[in-house]
């Protein structure tokens, strides 16, 4: 089993004060480099944002050493990709 942090939708701050947060495209999940080594098939979903919106605590959002950001088209795609045969 690999460690996952299922974020779901991610948002940027509102464009104007009092506005709604701006939703980013896709369904977002954080994994770890150790987890990716166990599930190399997930490499197809790895993205490298210039600044991560969410990281594992203690990690650097600009140069993460623990957090691997995965982006799926939607929740359904994530569920399929993250379900292992054992599950």
């Amino acid at each position: 089993m690999i460690e996952l942090d299922v974020i779901g939708p991610l948002f940027d701050p509102p464009a104007a004060e009092g506005g709604e947060p701006v939703a980013l495209a896709g369904w977002h999940v954080n994994a770890t480099f150790a987890g990716l080594a166990e599930r190399p098939d997930l490499a197809a979903f790895v993205v490298t944002p210039s600044r991560m919106r969410q990281v594992w605590a203690g990690d650097d959002p600009i140069a993460p050493v623990l957090t691997v950001a995965l982006r799926f088209a939607d929740r359904t795609e994530a569920d399929v990709a993250l379900t292992t045969p054992e599950n």
Binding site: D5, F11, P14, P21, Q54, V55, W56, P61, L66
Partner: protein, 304 residues
């Protein structure tokens, strides 16, 4: 006669010492069959995991950060938290370099600054987390209307959220609140105290953590937290992005010959059980009463 007198107590000691496992997290004493194992990592069958850094306080209230994968052991015991938690604030919650991510609104005469507060942080046991010694200060002493500082990092949904921060100040009217949901006013003291506003239902996804000062009040604040949960957990330090402390798992293999266990936790709590199976994994997290801040596991013993 002399031989018998010596033999009986010797045998008793040997039997007692040859079985059992004693874990005293408060003193760092881990013994198996009477033998000092030296460290938790040397305990046979010990397993622990947590992805992401965590924090814990000593009995004296001194907070420390623990790196990913490191058990949070202090002289209060082993702190375990069963659920992953995310601090959604996209600010530098412990070591702000400037005012980035914090926005002041309200009375124009109110000021938001970053100030050195080393002595007060040390007195509150926060120096280990707030290593830079800098905090935010919202000063509305001279204002004529209320003032608010909002932190970047919206709730994103309308599930229950819990807010927190360490605050000290002057005056009698300060709130740690969601931007659209009022909360109870408190009078900040001269020393930092953990202020919590738990289980708040946001009115919209754009709601943000904020601190509010009425006219005549000022607040020094640090380590703001915004968690999607009905309660506040231990502090999660953020560094410009939301940060997740993963769920902890911990277990130990039941030693040969042991069928019973007993534990001491929190402020005088005790638990015990029997029917253990040699070689089985004893889960320290699932369903245990020693989960969360204030419930630290002090000792755990496995007995014949």
């Amino acid at each position: 006669m002399i031989g018998q007198d010596l033999l009986i107590p010797t045998l008793t000691l040997m039997r007692s010492a040859s079985t059992g496992l004693s874990l005293d997290f408060t003193t760092g004493s881990y013994r198996s069959g009477g033998v000092d194992l030296g460290s938790l990592a040397n305990v046979p069958g010990w397993s622990f995991s947590r992805t992401g850094a965590g924090t814990s306080a000593s009995a004296a209230g001194v907070w420390t950060s623990f790196a990913t994968g490191t058990p949070r052991v202090t002289d209060k015991g082993l702190l375990l938290e069963a659920s992953a938690r995310t601090n959604k604030l996209a600010v530098y919650s412990a070591n702000p370099a400037d005012l980035t991510g914090m926005t002041k609104t309200g009375d124009a005469a109110a000021t938001l600054t970053r100030v050195s507060d080393t002595a007060a942080l040390a007195a509150a046991g926060l120096s280990g987390l707030v290593s830079g010694g800098q905090v935010w200060k919202l000063d509305n002493i001279s204002g004529s209307a209320s003032a608010t500082v909002a932190a970047q990092g919206a709730v994103g949904n309308t599930n229950p959220h819990s807010l927190s921060a360490w605050v000290r100040g002057t005056g009698s009217n300060v709130r740690v609140r969601l931007s659209s949901v009022n909360s109870t006013v408190f009078a900040p003291g001269a020393t930092f105290a953990l202020i919590t506003t738990p289980n708040v239902i946001p009115t919209g996804a754009a709601d943000v953590w904020s601190i509010w000062c009425a006219v005549g009040s000022a607040a020094w604040f640090i380590l703001p937290g915004l968690e999607e949960a009905t309660t506040v957990s231990s502090p999660i330090v953020t560094t410009g992005a939301a940060a997740t402390r993963g769920a902890e798992s911990a277990s130990v293999v039941v030693p040969v010959g042991c069928t019973r266990w007993s534990a001491a936790w929190g402020a005088g709590g005790t638990s015990s059980g029997s029917g253990l199976t040699t070689g089985a994994a004893f889960d320290l997290v699932g369903g245990r009463p020693w989960i969360g801040v204030g419930n630290e596991l002090k000792t755990l013993e496995f007995l014949p």
